[in-house]
Subunit: 412 residues, 2 copies
């Protein structure tokens, strides 16, 4: 495990910052509502990379002045590495670049963070053994076994890209068709079982048009965001057979504002555990492909006090993003820059490490208690759901920034 | 039913042309591999609308010089109507625009047709009662009943936009996970049950961010294409539970090169028949919302002789594109210009009006005979599948041009 890399930006050397020099996540900021500018986070600051390219201090052919990270991603891994190397040198303690860079540093507290990239298409997977097992029990009355294909296929479905928004965006409770089991006809109205799903989103940074091998997949994945795949459970239960979730997941998906790069997460790779059956060749991994990233979800009622309702880890997943990308391309399906792959809900083995309300409250039957002495079966109007996550190094953290969104009442 | 509108382009007045002045479909052409130019089809000719705007004969703010129809679509229905009105006057028999337009007319035989618009996202529905019933029998061993939600919900799922291609593009047979019922482990290899699906594609031409009513939906739908949702049935059978089709449908979806506008199809509206249960308010139609469009699929083996293997009609659908768009937006899901909604496989009531090989051959058990005295259970390498369709007026046709694609062997 690497140590903290010290920076001349003093706040980047704190044990608790999510943005030490080891991290260098990529985002897009705006001041006073102006258009977005590419930046990186360093301690309590952002470094305006748009400004650096404007000033001629770095040259990526204008890709850092394009408004978001999609153009830069398309340049490929060599350029990704070149920028990271430059930043790690220029921001390092003792660097002679301090004087040149200082005018381009702004306090994180003074900026608004926007969508960091343009989402081409969104795919959501179903890759936690614990989640799949719990959902089977709850929705299909199974005894906890997973579907027969689950141990062979990184099961996924196409999601909706048009409703993806960044942390801070309010989420409107969806309307939809509801049919409680004891009624004979469905009705149309606000979802009564609105849920979050704690996920990890992998961002495809290179186009492709054939099978990507698991071993080379990380060369195509630019980085990761925290992801909340908001889900209307009552709509889902009625609509999802036989072709999968549709309107139950279409109202909103929210992501954290910082793309933590594949390079920054490299020291935190861990192997999947509990492989029950051998995988087909095209899915086999030769090295650890998950990450040890601690995750938590807090729920705040309108009164505003956060209660952490689950703590889990990305390392619990059965399939990695590399395996998901390999499977996604197995048919020859072309990938494009900006494709977003959701990991699937990340549930751990404990009751307190489940990644959505449906599992935490067993479909609303066992409400979670909030510190405000309220309780919740599902998410209520005015509630704010916040996902946080970081990899823990030796005396430093590589964090994602929060993915935090408040729920508004359904449209009448 | 309107009569033929005569044009000074003589070939547009023939009873058998698909492109009389009543039609005016929109496409994109290229000559000698140059970049795409927006055009309309008139008889055996194309009219170069890019050239018309270049020459100052029409002015749509450059939208006709944008390379495809997405920019023009975003202008909205008033501008859609203004272009159609202009073209119907300028191309009409006796128009004094003939001299000015003549230099911009090119023989259809001399051009290559490209993708007519930029696909934002692709959604595929499941809206033929006959198809749903047959698929239930074949894949789930039912007695022909549809799933309980089917009579209430226009069931749909998100498809993959990156693999949509225009007629004429070769389609590569996908590899995928196959698990025949009599084997215990899946294997990875070329699909052995590769199929077409005959569909109608509705193109969303306006952005939205809330529920669209069925009655106003046609103001948001720019037009229609024929669509082939290529499907690997063996991959599909193994992967699709519980989250729906994924890699089985991701290799390719192909569309006809001409967008036949909602305005051109207006005279051919017909009401859905056989509504078994009343629909919820947000799905009820006050007027006929399907179209009487005759459809056929021909299959040609490598020897090249077409055999028509099915004849059906879009009027057999249970749900219209207007109802599908209403449902798609019911959660608040934002729509964008260029969203493509596949109707779902269009199967009629007869054995000879089924819209895919799986139904026509009952999953390969009853092969269809070709005129070459070969037979087919599914599509073989080198086969070409061609979808054709037209609405029949009084002495004229409004046609789509063919959606024709050849299948290449899977990658090794």
């Amino acid at each position: 495990m690497t140590d903290l890399i010290r920076s001349w930006v003093e706040s980047a050397n704190a044990k608790t910052t999510e943005f030490p020099l080891n991290n260098l996540p990529y985002g897009v900021f705006s001041q006073d509502g102006n258009s977005g500018r590419s930046c990186t986070a360093i301690g309590a600051k952002v470094l305006d990379l748009h400004g650096l390219e404007d000033a001629g201090l770095i040259d990526f052919g204008g890709a850092l002045r394009a408004g978001d990270w999609s153009s830069f991603m398309s340049l490929g891994k060599r350029e990704w590495d070149r920028l990271r190397t430059y930043l790690q040198e220029a921001l390092a303690e003792g660097s002679d670049a301090e004087r040149a860079l200082a005018p381009h540093i702004i306090s994180l507290a003074d900026v608004q963070l926007l969508m960091p990239f343009t989402v081409s298409e969104f795919t959501d997977f179903y890759a936690s053994r614990h989640h799949a097992s719990n959902v089977g029990r709850i929705l299909r009355g199974t005894n906890g076994e997973v579907p027969p294909n689950w141990l062979h296929i990184p099961i996924g479905y196409n999601g909706r890209a048009s409703s993806i928004a960044v942390s801070g965006t309010d989420v409107r409770r969806p309307n939809g068709q509801l049919k409680p089991k004891d009624e004979t006809m469905p009705r149309f109205g606000p979802s009564e079982r609105f849920d979050f799903e704690l996920e990890f989103g992998a961002i495809v940074g290179q186009p492709s048009s054939g099978l990507i091998s698991v071993e080379t997949a990380f060369e195509n994945i630019f980085g990761y965001v925290l992801l909340n795949d908001w889900s209307a459970r009552d709509v889902q239960a009625w609509e999802y057979q036989p072709l999968g979730p549709f309107q139950s997941k279409a109202a909103a998906t929210t992501i954290s504002p910082w793309i933590v790069t594949t390079a920054a997460l490299e020291p935190f790779r861990v192997a999947a555990t509990g492989r029950e059956l051998p995988l087909l060749d095209y899915l086999q991994e030769g090295s650890p492909m998950l990450y040890d990233v601690e995750l938590e979800v807090a729920l705040a009622p309108p009164s505003g006090i956060d209660t952490v309702i689950t703590r889990t880890n990305y390392k619990y997943m059965y399939y990695s993003s590399a395996q998901q990308l390999a499977h996604h391309t197995s048919s020859g399906c072309p990938m494009r820059v900006g494709d977003l792959l959701g990991s699937g809900t990340i549930s751990g083995p404990e009751k307190t490490s489940r990644g959505c309300m449906m599992e935490l409250t067993w479909n609303g039957q066992e409400p979670v208690e909030l510190s405000s002495s309220e309780s919740r079966g599902f998410i209520e109007d005015g509630d704010t759901v916040t996902i946080r996550g970081h990899a823990q190094g030796a005396g430093f953290r590589v964090g994602f920034g929060a993915c935090s969104n408040r729920v508004l009442p359904a449209k009448g």
